[in-house]
Symmetry: C2
Subunit: 202 residues, 2 copies
DNA sequence: ATAAAGTTCAACCATATGGTTGAACTTTAT
DNA sequence: ATAAAGTTCAACCATATGGTTGAACTTTAT
């Protein structure tokens, strides 16, 4: 195994940690170097400059969020099953890295153009199958008529908001870390219920 | 009217705009001065330093989000009406300033301690009446058993997420600004329905 | 009218920060 | 064995940035 790859990867991992914790403007090249345990010049040797290093981190983060979601939306399972899978997909992501959603959303807002370019670069097409399923369920009377966009945003909102606003949840409800994770876990089962039948009694 | 107040207020408004658009680290004192149309020294004359200026902006922003929500939660109306009022409250807030939720959430994560202090400083108590209503509705069989925390987070998530992730929504669904605002408006009626009966047919 | 208090600004200052350079060292290819 | 290519680092550099200073100007109080 060459040292080359190890250094480059250590820089990348350190950059991920620092950028995700502090955002682009808050991150310091020196801090990334310290975190990686190498000299600051190495950052420039491997990634040329802060922007390019950041872009790598951002794009890698995006790839952890978007393609998986879209492949579920386009898969051949029932709408009910799809919602469960989306929730599970997000929860797997949270388990690996709780800061990722906040990071992506913040940086997306900070630079909309970059986000647009990214979406364009990987040919993500809006999932036609998902939209068709939602429309059919509505016209056959199984569901109320709801635009597929709203349906999807409802699921995503219920999953992501408590993670994006983790601090608000913990502070307002006085939850320590353990209680917070229990809270999240409870929602995993709750979200599909809310989507399909709200708070109606069983 | 004294010039004093005008300058101070212009600085504050400019600071609000710049901090909300770029965050603490991304904001530049010079940019705030330019935006306010005054000399940079004035910022320090009126607000001493960047931190203090920021804190004013942050606290003012928090006050636009928290107390109103809690007074609704504690008010003497039915649970159904409460949800409608919460949605309306958030939508009024959005109408005045769409960047506010993202700003508050981002800065809350950047500095949890400051947020905790703020919450402690204004004696916000968890709304007992709201929790009681949710529990009673469940025990009387009108609703499924659901923890009040989850009930509340569901409503807040469905309201705020599409605003916090505005860019994602607009880009993925190819919505121009007008279409985005229509999308938001549709949700105003949709959210209470989802909360109480999900996507069940009417 | 006059002094004190308050306000504004151009010119500075100290430091943090992203980035560069060149020499030393290590690995790889022949 | 040796030269070329690749890697690492201490020392620098240029600039951006938050903050300060002191003089000039304006308003307020007596």
């Amino acid at each position: 195994m060459s040292l080359e790859k190890e250094t480059e990867e250590m820089i990348f991992i350190a950059a991920q940690r620092v950028f995700q914790a502090k955002g682009f403007e808050g991150a310091r090249m020196q801090e990334i170097a310290d975190e990686a345990g190498i000299n600051k010049s190495m950052l420039h040797y491997y990634y040329r400059n802060k922007d390019k290093l950041f872009l790598e981190v951002f794009q890698t983060s995006m790839k952890k969020i978007m393609p998986g979601l879209f492949s579920i939306l386009n898969s051949e399972v029932t709408l009910e099953e799809k919602v469960v899978q989306i929730v599970e997909f997000y929860y797997e992501m949270f388990k690996k890295n709780l800061l990722l959603p906040t990071f992506v959303i913040y940086e997306m807002n900070r630079n909309p153009e970059r986000f647009k370019e990214f979406i364009a670069s990987m040919d993500i097409q809006l999932p036609g199958l998902f939209a068709k399923q939602v429309k059919e369920a509505a016209s056959s009377g199984k569901m109320m008529p709801i635009a597929p966009h709203h349906f999807l945003i409802n699921v995503v909102s219920l999953c992501m908001m408590p993670v994006v606003a983790r601090n608000m949840v913990q502070t307002l409800f006085s939850l320590d870390d353990e209680a917070y994770f229990t809270f999240l876990e409870e929602r995993k089962l709750l979200i599909p219920k809310i989507i399909f039948s709200g708070v109606q009694p069983l």
